[in-house]
Amino acid sequence: MRAKDAVGRYGETVAARYLLGEGWRVLDRNWRGPDGELDIVALHADALVVVEVKTRRGLGYGHPAEAVTPRKLARLRRLTAQWLAAHDVHPRSIRIDVIAVLVPRRGAASLEHLVGVV
């Protein structure tokens, strides 16, 4: 596994732990659909939330949340529909969130949760 993939995995773990701490129910992680991968699918109250986790080790190439481009958001929407088609879950509303994780060279990872980005 390459270093950047390890960073990404670590970030997703940090994000999932954070969501559990907030009382969310994580339904799925790293679900592979025809168009790509959903990082985390969770239930927040009765809303289905698809969470895209973006992790970076520094700000040299911009803030992690900036890496979520409109194209990527469009792909997330398609994947969300595909996930719903494949699972027997019927939420009252659907939302896409972004969690930006910053993993500094030393010290704890910092995390920013952007709600409802589409």
Partner: protein, 512 residues
């Protein structure tokens, strides 16, 4: 989430509109969008603001930023909104105190290094801001002197965005004094003080020039090449009196928008002089350009002199476009981006050769042009345009005797003194009317003041009968006659002045 607000100014012609610049920062995928009818230069503002903020050691907020320029229906152009956008955005991000910046007008372009660059049109923009009740303005250091010319304005000149943020109490270190970006003035350096004494001989033409200056009359000089037509015209502004306070503000505002104003010397108090080349296009002369039109030579010559050398060489369209400002004293230019209104009350000075070869003066024996070529040459100066020119004189080659005998001619100061006296007389007589010089006065007013003394009109009636003068031409001659009387210190023109006016109007062909 955060909402920041400050003010900018959008210019349409000389009229400034206060623009509210709002920035909304939402917790979402970071982005920066600018709405409210920005043009291309203004849309690029996003990239400049972003680089400037980062260069100023201020953290760029990772938010979805929406900047709105309100009222959103008014088209806005140029780079002068950069500072207002940055300040509104920083206020929304909590870097600056929202309430402190809300009613302050910000003008200026940002460089990628965070320094403030001067913009055009600061003077009319600040005038508009003060008039709208927002006297506090922040401008680039290079524009501070210009903004300070506006009475009642509280001006802060800043060299960089960091300095602005620091003065508003942002939590950043005091920035080192940045070297202010100097203003680039596109206009030429002020012409060297040309004096009338340098013109050898040419008594008739000098007299005509003095009359033109005294009465504000348009002037046409016809003569062979090298007789001093251009020299004479360039010395006309030196004979004119200083601009009044309100005229100076108007003229300076036009030049501020045109980018030809150097604020170092304060308001422009001398009449401007513009001499467009004869290849100039209509847009260059009356103003134009894409989006919001810019002022052209005719507006830059407002309250001054517009000199058109080799007038028949100008394209007919250029000459025809001058008829609107000659009639109304202002130009309204319509473009897709909106229409702009610029003042253009100039004194027109035309110079022309008598024919393409230039020698058809006097008897014209040396002229080698074919009659058709001569006629075609003059056909370009249309009747309607020439009819508006009060003074039409021939400039002959100065003779040996004139040059040797006369010595140096009168200097500009002496002539300007007489011109100023004549202008005072006109101002007294025209007090209470909308006009200030004889050239502006309509014919019926002159005739009513002159009374029904038919003896004065004998020469004019004869010229009218012979077809040398049009009815409008008669009024023009009377105006010139009034100016001649003012110069001579008489209370009303007599037969002598009218005869001389006829001579000056008709290139010497009116009396026989």
């Amino acid at each position: 989430m955060g909402l920041g607000r400050t003010l900018g100014v959008s210019l349409l012609g000389l009229a400034g509109h206060i623009i509210e610049v709002e920035a909304h920062l939402a917790a979402s995928v970071p982005g920066f969008s600018l709405v409210g009818l920005p043009d291309a230069a203004l849309a690029e503002s996003r990239d400049r603001v972003r680089a400037a903020v980062t260069s100023s050691a201020i953290d760029w907020p990772q938010r979805k930023i929406t900047v709105n320029l309100s009222p959103a229906s008014l088209p806005k152009s140029g780079s002068g909104f950069d500072l207002a956008i940055a300040v509104a955005m920083l206020a929304g991000a909590g870097v600056l105190d929202v309430s402190r910046v809300a009613d302050i007008v910000h003008l200026g372009e940002l460089g990628l290094d965070g320094r403030l660059r001067p913009v055009r049109g600061v003077l009319p923009a600040v005038i508009a801001a003060v008039a709208a009740g927002y006297p506090r303005v922040v401008v680039p250091a290079a524009n501070a002197a210009e903004a300070a010319l506006v009475p009642g304005a509280l001006v802060l000149g800043a060299a960089s965005l960091a300095e602005v943020a620091w003065r508003y109490g942002a939590d950043i270190a005091q920035p080192p004094a940045a070297v202010p970006v100097p203003a680039v003035v596109a206009g030429r350096a002020a012409p060297p003080d040309a004096d009338l004494a340098e013109v050898l001989g040419q008594h008739q033409a000098r007299a005509a020039l003095e009359v033109a200056a005294a009465g504000g009359h348009h002037l046409l000089m016809v003569g062979p090449p090298g007789t001093g037509k251009t020299m004479l015209a360039a010395r006309l502004p030196g004979l004119l009196p200083d601009l009044t306070e309100s005229e100076a503000v108007e003229v300076t505002a036009v030049h501020s928008i045109a980018g030809t104003f150097d604020p170092g010397g304060g308001l422009m108090r001398r009449p401007p002089f513009e001499d467009p080349h004869h290849t100039a296009t209509p847009a260059a002369v009356v103003g134009g350009g894409s989006g919001i039109p810019r002022p052209g030579a005719a507006s830059r010559a407002h309250r001054g002199v517009l000199f058109m050398d080799e007038a028949p060489e100008f394209s007919p369209r250029v000459l025809e476009t001058l008829r609107q400002p000659l009639e109304h004293g202002e130009l309204v230019i319509h473009r897709a981006g909106g229409s702009a209104r610029y003042p253009a009350r100039f004194q027109l000075v035309l110079a022309a050769n008598p024919c393409p070869c230039g020698k058809a003066i006097g008897k014209g024996l040396e002229c080698t042009c074919q009659p058709m070529a001569r006629r075609r040459y003059w056909a370009r100066l249309s009747g309607p345009l020439l009819d508006r020119v009060d003074l039409q004189v021939e400039v002959h080659q100065a003779s040996r005797a004139e040059i040797d005998g006369a010595g140096r001619g009168e200097c500009s100061a002496a002539v300007a003194g007489r011109v100023a006296a004549a202008r005072r007389v006109q101002a007294d007589r025209l007090a209470g009317t909308p006009w200030r010089t004889n050239a502006e006065v309509p014919g019926h007013w002159i005739r009513s003041v002159l009374g029904a003394d038919r003896s004065l009109m004998v020469d004019l009636d004869r010229a009218l009968d012979r077809g040398v003068l049009s009815l409008r031409g008669v009024d023009r001659v009377l105006r010139v006659a009034w100016t001649l009387a003012d110069l001579a210190g008489r209370t009303a023109p007599g037969r002598a002045e009218i005869g001389q006016g006829l001579l000056l109007r008709t290139r010497g062909q009116g009396v026989a």
